[in-house]
Amino acid sequence: MDPAELLAAYEQMTIIRRTEKAAHDLFLQGLVKGTTHLAAGHEAIAVGASAALRPGDYVFATYRGHHHAMARGATPEECLAELMSRATGLCRAKGGSMHLTKASTGMLGSYAIVGAHLPMAAGAAWSAKLRGTEQIAVAFFGDGATNIGAFHEALNLAAVWKLPVLFVCENNLYMEYTPIADVTAVPRPAADRAPAYGIPGEVVDGNDVVAVQEAVARLAGRARAGDGPALLEAQTYRHFGHSRADPAAYRPAEEVERWLKHDPLDLARGRLAELGVPEAVVTEAAERATSLVHKAVEAAKAGPEPDPREAMTDVWADGGAAWRT
């Protein structure tokens, strides 16, 4: 990344961090219902990967997918409005936190059944191959998904069909509340499975936006060239618990402290300094992000609630929901 690209990535990560904090605060104020799975701490994976992708590429994410939606073009206002059940939300308040989707930018959804979207990403890559485009598909998923059958079925299919798809694991060390190491037969839950499918399996520092960008660019180039899928295991850490009800008390204090010191935003700031970008410029970018998110919160709050009649639309392609004639 050149200084301008890195500064843009830093600003985008800061926007995501501030939006996640806003989501957390709005939840405590009772303005966000249901649950949220915040991705604070994971920003470098979404932003680094996106920096390596092209506009037409497809992305599939999980219920912890706010950062991917925003990295792929959803605005903080659209996302927060969705979380606050506003008609102006990204999915018109029919999806909620776990289903942020922006199809117009190729962000084809956030799926809340663990691992279910991996075969879909393979299918989108298959479609790209059939249509002869140079698009690729990327599936982001957690370490817990690596023990789901769909993970293995998707990897095998993608490998035998040589599909242009990247499987990017966000290994944050915990499968919900349980250490992934306690329930997984190999130490690196994603990368160690790659040899079984004859595809590359790499590990990257998921908190280093530059490292992620470089790894994804390399593997994406390989996929675009027709060399098939790859697995990238990005090691990272959640700043919050699994979901809103989880204070994450099961995590050792020393571990939390170590990872918080390895913050993706701080790492990016360090790299910007190394590239000679003045601190004032970086601070300005952070302030822009803060201001943008502040305005997004206010705008999202002002959005109207959906018309109750909307409950009976969008089941079918004709817009309706009728099951009988």
């Binding site: 939300g89 990204l90 999915c91 029919k94 084809l108 075969p119 299918g123 479609s127 769909a150």
Partner: protein, 326 residues
């Protein structure tokens, strides 16, 4: 084309017609390529359209349906085969949680125009894990269209409608009907989903049937005619959209109703159908409704046991006799 076509040939013919007219139609499934499918329902497709459009998959039902979904979301019209309908349970997440919900939960952003074809039902002695009539499973899920043709012409016409549909369709091909024959339909024959057919007229009782139960109902109607009872037979063709207007219109002519279902009585589609009749057509009835349905047991192996469990002509005739005398 030949003068007659079998139900199994009609499946491949129906798919081939759509593949010829739309390059976005692609097929995937286990053994569907050179092997032509375990039921020989995809014979000739690989030879005509090549491996670039007819893809053999591993035994990976989640990957098959999940990949079909991803392809459907991005410009293709995939036709995925799940060999036996019992195996839909292996990819039930996609049918219950992913495919039917994605349009709704994205606020209408995503369309999933795919067909999941599967061989359904009993009668062939395949035992409990290869013989179930499972269309009622799909019937519990909002967001899936459900087609279950009974004749070769309907297989072709409904396949056209299913593949052209912008909504996901689960297409049940009945194993017990694969060898049956009928007249091949003309080019561009399309049977819109959600239109039931009155396949025999009668004034005394309406028999509503689906797929393999249509010929059972027709044979029962023949027997009943010999006894002076006129049975009208409605081939439902689809469960979603459910054509209640044709059922209610028939009931207006006959005033008596029997559903003939292969799926188990418990949770079967007939229960929904008669509940709509109770809500909206009660005044049309001159007798209680009757449901002839499968027993609530796994399908047994032996012919004599299987016949005990699924509806037969005799069971339908007995149910109607009781009603006619009411």
């Amino acid at each position: 084309m030949a003068d007659v076509i079998s139900y199994r040939e009609a499946v491949a013919e129906g798919i081939a017609r759509e593949m010829r007219r739309d390059p976005a139609v692609v097929c995937l499934g286990e053994d569907i390529g050179a092997a032509g499918g375990v039921f020989k329902t995809t014979v000739g497709l690989r030879a005509e359209f090549g491996p670039g459009r007819v893809w053999d998959t591993p035994i990976s039902e989640q990957a098959i349906v999940g990949a079909a979904m991803g392809a459907a979301m991005t410009g293709m019209r995939p036709v995925a085969e799940i060999m036996f309908s019992d195996f839909l349970a292996c990819c039930w997440d996609y049918l219950a949680n992913e495919i039917p919900k994605v349009r709704y939960m994205t606020g209408g952003q995503v369309t999933v125009p795919l067909v999941v074809r599967t061989a359904n039902g009993g009668g062939l002695g395949f035992g409990a894990q290869h013989s179930q009539a499972t269309e009622n499973w799909a019937f519990t899920v909002p967001g899936l269209k459900i087609a279950a043709p009974a004749t070769p012409a309907d297989v072709i016409g409904m396949m056209a409608a299913a593949i052209r549909s912008d909504d996901p369709v689960v297409f049940f091909e009945h194993k017990g009907l694969l060898a049956t024959k009928g007249e091949p339909p003309p080019p561009d024959h399309v049977v819109e989903l959600g239109h039931a057919a009155v396949v025999r007229e009668g004034a005394d009782v309406t028999l509503v049937a689906l797929a393999s139960m249509v010929p059972v109902a027709l044979k029962a109607a023949d027997v009943l005619a010999g006894e002076g009872i006129g049975a009208e037979v409605v081939d439902l063709r689809c469960l979603v959209p459910l054509d209640m207007s044709t059922v209610l219109a028939s009931l207006g002519r006959t005033s008596r109703l029997v559903t003939v279902e292969e799926n188990p009585y418990q949770g079967g589609w007939g229960a929904t159908l008669v509940s709509v009749v109770a809500d909206e057509g009660f005044a049309l009835l001159d007798a209680p409704v009757r449901r002839v349905a499968g027993e609530c047991v796994p399908l047994p192996f032996a012919d004599v046991l299987e016949e005990e469990v699924i509806p037969t002509v005799d069971k339908v005739v007995a149910a109607v006799r009781g009603l006619a005398a009411y």
